[in-house]
């Protein structure tokens, strides 16, 4: 269970999140929708501990642990995975090396045994096949020269291999054509399970046709201003965010 | 026949440098040569306070002990400092001058140069046209400053520095030499000893100067050095845009121009300083032309202060010039946008120094050099980051374009980072004018010279855009004129 309570986050001196409260029970998929500038990406960064996103007030608990006390790698070891809106290019580090380093670092942090090289290769081959990814691509430096769709698939592949328990998808549909979107959504849906929580951050309703949420929240001006079932997303799609803007201002 | 050819060449030459005329203005000179008495003579002519004379004499003493710098990538015949006039002024009546009292011959000079000195003429222009206040410096003295009263209403002081020394001695004394100390370099020391005029600008706190300020420098007299001194103080939260233009007659001799410009920007102040330098570059054989040895420096001592240098350097036989920013204030910012065009036998060694002392200070350098003929152009720049200056950012882009086989183009940047949080980026390219592009433009009907002008204007566009509108148009034409005869 993810429990965010009265979260205030500032970037530099500027307050972005202003008292955000949200619970995501285990096994549920929640969508956070909102207009540009509402603080959607900030929420993802704050949960994952990006430097410069300072929580000034409030708390974030994940399965009983206080996330705000932990550094980003420790949060990752607790199962927090942020799928980046714009995955970072890392020249010189082959994707395979990167994923294996990450997987073993997480395992060490949890007191588990590291994965051997052959075992790891087997896992990667299976996962990349499921995502229809060319295995040779994984020998290239991470995300360098990848298309938008390839980068997103790379995120989903890491998700599948790292097996996180809290998934935060930040605008995962941006830059994807319909086929790529379907593949990515299938990858995410395959990870749905009673132990996993998912937070899907998106501006458009489109992604939610493929990843069906249990609950939908509207984020405007740094706070959750409305919550409802999946029908709320359709309503937002039809009516836009206008009616939430004055209320939030 | 030979004589006819000669005449045609001479006319063609005149066409190219259209500011090359001399004017028959009655002038008075100080005796030739430099010694302590000449320094005293200049100071007395200006009716300066005693401390100013002492300041000059101290500078003169320092200068005598210094050696002329040789590190720049320029070669020139040595200057005989004893064979120059250090003071030349149009003869005029004493006392406060209005435009009506200015020698009509002088007004004609400026009219010919296209510099508006009559306020009513400027006002009579197109509705909404930008107005520019002008300080016109003719050889050693300022002949007229326009719009003084209107500027005074806004609290802006804009006057010849010689006048400011009499009217605002405390203000001048506080800042003069505080950015470029007298002993800074050989030419700055010389200037400090013998400068005769230049502009003084003070913008009070919170004031946005209501119009562009401009100084127009003209060297007219033969065998005369011009040593002007400009001091601009932008008080807290103020803004000013300042333009500088310069021309000189065509003469076979080399003339020395050793100016000093000091800018002080206090908290939140912004100064934009633009130069179109079109001193006489010498003739096609490299005879004559101005030695342009200039020290320009801005002290961004205030937090969030900003100084932007933009220069279009097309003239002078030899240029030695590095408009710089000392970024002392936190989050202060310095910019340098430069176009240096050399043709014929011109030599230019120019660039900037961005000295980052303040936290989160930023700088940006865009330098475009175009070399043609037998000319030589060097970009020389320094970006340095002090150990205590965290969060510094710099971006530098230097592009050089070569036209012809006999020119040279050099890029010599110095990058010194002494703080782990600095992010410095430098890019430079050197290429020739593309044959494909030239052909393409010609195929569509442009003459070769039009095509060159078009392509070069494209090459320098990023910098032209930084100029105030009315200057940009002039500069664009200048680019084309400077490169005439460079292809073929």
């Amino acid at each position: 269970m993810l429990s965010i309570s009265n979260l205030h986050v500032s970037v530099g001196d500027k307050p972005i999140l202003k008292g955000l409260t949200l619970d995501v029970p285990a096994g549920e998929v929640h969508a956070v929708m909102g207009p540009n500038g509402a603080g959607k990406s900030t929420l993802g960064y704050a949960l994952s501990g990006r430097p410069g996103y300072e929580a000034t007030e409030g708390s974030v608990e994940w399965n009983g642990a206080d996330l705000l006390d932990l550094d980003p790698a420790e949060r990752a070891a607790k199962g927090v995975f942020l799928s980046f809106q714009y995955p970072i290019e890392i020249p010189g580090v082959p994707a395979l090396t990167f994923v294996r380093t990450a997987l073993n670092a997480q395992r060490r942090a949890r007191g588990e045994e590291e994965v051997s090289a052959p075992e790891f290769l087997k896992l990667v081959k299976a996962a990349s096949k499921a995502l229809k990814m060319d295995f040779d691509m994984l020998k290239r430096p991470l995300n360098v020269g990848f298309s938008g769709g390839e980068k997103k698939r790379m995120e989903i592949l890491q998700m599948a291999l790292l097996e996180p328990s809290l998934l935060i998808l930040d605008e995962t549909d941006s830059g994807l054509d319909i086929d790529a979107l379907r593949i990515v959504a299938d990858g995410v849906n395959a990870l749905r399970s009673p132990e996993r929580s998912m937070l899907v951050i998106t501006h458009y309703q489109r992604l939610l046709d493929y990843i069906k949420p249990d609950r939908v929240h509207v984020l405007a001006a740094g706070r959750i201003v409305a919550s409802g079932g999946p029908e709320l997303a359709l309503q937002l799609e039809a009516e836009g965010y206008d009616k939430y803007l004055p209320a939030a201002a | 026949m030979a004589a006819v050819k000669e005449t045609i060449d001479a006319v063609a030459e005149l066409e190219r440098y259209k500011y090359g005329f001399t004017s028959d203005v009655e002038q008075e000179f100080a005796p030739k040569g430099l010694n302590a008495d000449i320094v005293r003579f200049i100071s007395e002519k200006k009716g300066e306070p005693e401390w100013m004379l002492e300041w000059r004499l101290a500078a003169y003493e320092r200068w005598q002990a210094m050696e002329e710098p040789t590190w720049a990538a320029v070669k020139y015949a040595p200057v005989d400092y004893q064979d120059l006039f250090y003071y030349a002024a149009p003869k005029k009546k004493e006392g406060p001058k209005s435009l009506d009292e200015v020698d009509p011959e002088l007004l004609a000079v400026y009219e010919k140069l296209g510099i508006p000195l009559k306020e009513q003429e400027v006002l009579a222009g197109v509705e909404g046209a930008p107005r520019v206040a002008v300080d016109a410096v003719f050889d050693s003295v300022s002949v007229v400053t326009t719009f003084k009263e209107e500027l005074a209403k806004a609290g802006v002081i804009f006057m010849p520095i010689s006048e400011a020394l009499r009217e605002y001695p405390d203000l001048v004394r506080q800042y003069l030499g505080s950015v470029v100390p007298v002993s800074d370099n050989y030419f700055a020391a010389l200037n400090s000893a013998v400068f005769s005029d230049g502009s003084f600008v003070y913008i009070p706190p919170g004031v946005r100067c209501p119009m562009e300020l401009s100084t127009y420098f003209r060297i007219n007299a033969s065998q005369t050095g011009q040593f002007e001194r400009t001091l601009i103080i932008a008080d807290k939260g103020s803004y000013v845009s300042y333009l500088e233009g310069c021309t000189a007659p065509m003469r076979d001799e080399n003339q020395l121009h050793a100016a000093v410009v000091e800018i002080v920007a206090l908290d939140d102040a912004e100064v934009k300083y633009s130069t179109v330098q079109n001193w006489y570059p010498g003739d096609a054989e490299g005879r004559g032309g101005i030695y342009n040895f200039v020290t320009k420096r801005a002290d961004c001592r205030g937090d969030r202060s900003k100084v932007s240098w933009t220069q279009v350097e097309t003239g002078s036989a030899v240029t030695w010039k590095y408009p710089s920013c000392i970024l002392k204030g936190e989050e202060s910012s310095g910019e340098f946008y430069s176009i240096a065009i050399t043709n014929g036998h011109q030599q230019a060694d120019t660039g900037t120094k961005m000295i980052h002392l303040g936290r989160n200070s930023k700088s940006r350098i865009i330098a475009k050099a175009v070399s043609a003929g037998k000319s030589d152009s060097t970009y020389r720049g320094l970006v340095s980051v002090h150990p205590k200056a965290t969060g510094v950012r710099n971006f530098t882009q230097c592009d050089s374009l070569l036209i012809g086989k006999d020119c040279g183009s050099h890029t010599i940047p110095y990058i010194e980072a002494r703080n782990g949080s600095a992010q410095l980026e430098h890019e430079a390219t050197t290429t020739r004018l593309s044959d494909d592009q030239l052909f393409y433009a010609q195929q569509r009907g442009l003459s070769e010279e039009e095509a060159v002008a078009l392509l070069v204007n494209g090459f320098v566009r990023d910098v032209l855009q930084e100029l105030p509108m009315e200057f940009a148009v002039e500069a664009q034409k200048l680019v084309a004129i400077s490169l005439e005869g460079s292809v073929g």
Binding site: P91, L103 | D406
Partner: protein, 340 residues
């Protein structure tokens, strides 16, 4: 002492100071005011990092030649050039001359192996690459932190010749690896790469001057460096295109990471161009590790220190990846990885 090199350890008046423009950032005079006492003989211990790659060897121990000092390569050959120092507080010089005959392929594996302390070493190399010959020079420099070391090479490349170089420096009190390469005839290709990895208060200075004297030459240079702690990295790269050297294509890049508040990087990448039919470019960046990449790695569970080490390695390894000879490349990769 060859006239090509202007420093003579026996004559203190030849020691450059920062007043000399080319030594602006490496003030030898500051550290060395007088000529050092000559070093005694040295014993040769370990076989050197490139031993397994075989080939011939030129060995200097504290400046004294153990065998020949000259070598002429023909056909396909490997030469290990070892400058070994184990002196304490004394100085020594050594000079080698190597040539590759027309059409030869030479792998030149140069090592500066320092033990002892506070010595002064001045090692020089004259290298001629004949028409159509191909020389790959790998230089590994590892010396005590209080040593003063100057390595100077003068390389001449004839028509169609290929000269590739990769310098790996770890710094000393003052360590300068200077290479002067002339495109002496048309159509030569030069690659002048290098990297420095500096800890403590070490300094390394990679200086190069590549002159294009004839047409259609290409030069490619990639230098990367990391300065940690209070270390200081210096890069001075000069590309000169002389009049008539048309068709030149020259690219230079220097990229440095400052990995500590107290570290320092000084760079002077110069282009001096006297010909118009050229394509020349240089790029220079100085900065810290990419914060967003660091966060991304941490987000995936890699601890900060490990992420930093991995990113640093990835940053530097690009230079190693450009070494074409596989055997040499793998030795260098291991050598470097061990020092990260």
């Amino acid at each position: 002492m060859s006239a090509l090199f202007d420093i003579d350890l026996a004559d203190a008046s030849t020691f450059p100071s920062r007043r000399t423009e080319a030594w602006k950032y490496s003030d030898l005079k500051r550290y060395l005011r007088e000529a050092p006492q000559p070093s005694p003989t040295a014993a040769i211990g370990a076989p050197g990092p490139f031993y397994d790659l075989g080939g011939e060897a030129i060995v200097f121990a504290n400046g004294r030649a153990v065998g020949v000092t000259d070598f002429i390569a023909s056909g396909d050959q490997t030469l290990r050039l070892r400058y070994i120092s184990d002196a304490v507080g004394t100085g020594h010089s050594a000079g080698a001359r190597v040539a590759a005959r027309a059409g030869a392929r030479l792998l030149l594996l140069e090592t500066h192996e320092g033990a002892g302390s506070a010595y002064v070493a001045h090692n020089t190399l004259e290298l001629d690459v004949a028409a159509g010959a191909e020389v790959t020079r790998i230089v590994l420099v590892e010396e005590p932190e209080d040593a003063l070391s100057i390595a100077q090479a003068q390389v001449k490349v004839e028509a169609g010749g290929v000269f590739r170089q990769t310098v790996i420096a770890t710094g000393a009190r003052l360590q300068r690896v200077e290479t002067r390469v002339d495109h002496h005839a048309r159509g030569a290709h030069v690659q002048a790469d290098g990297l420095y990895l500096l800890n403590g208060a070490r300094q390394a200075d990679l200086t190069s001057v590549v002159r294009h004297l004839d047409r259609d030459g290409t030069t490619s240079q990639l230098i990367k460096g990391v300065a940690r702690d209070a270390a200081r990295g210096v890069f001075q790269g000069k590309i000169v295109v002389e009049r008539g050297a048309d068709g030149t294509d020259a690219r230079m890049g220097h990229h440095a990471l400052i990995a500590s508040e107290r570290a320092e990087i000084d760079a002077k990448p110069e282009l001096i161009i006297y010909a118009d039919d050229v394509q020349c470019a240089h790029g220079n960046t100085v900065g810290a590790l990419d914060e967003s990449a660091l966060f991304y790695m941490q987000q995936r569970g890699v601890p900060a220190d490990e992420a930093r080490a991995l990113l640093t390695q990835a940053f530097l390894i690009e230079v190693v990846d450009r070494i074409e000879h596989e055997g040499a490349r793998e030795v260098v990769r291991e050598w470097l990885t061990a020092r990260l």
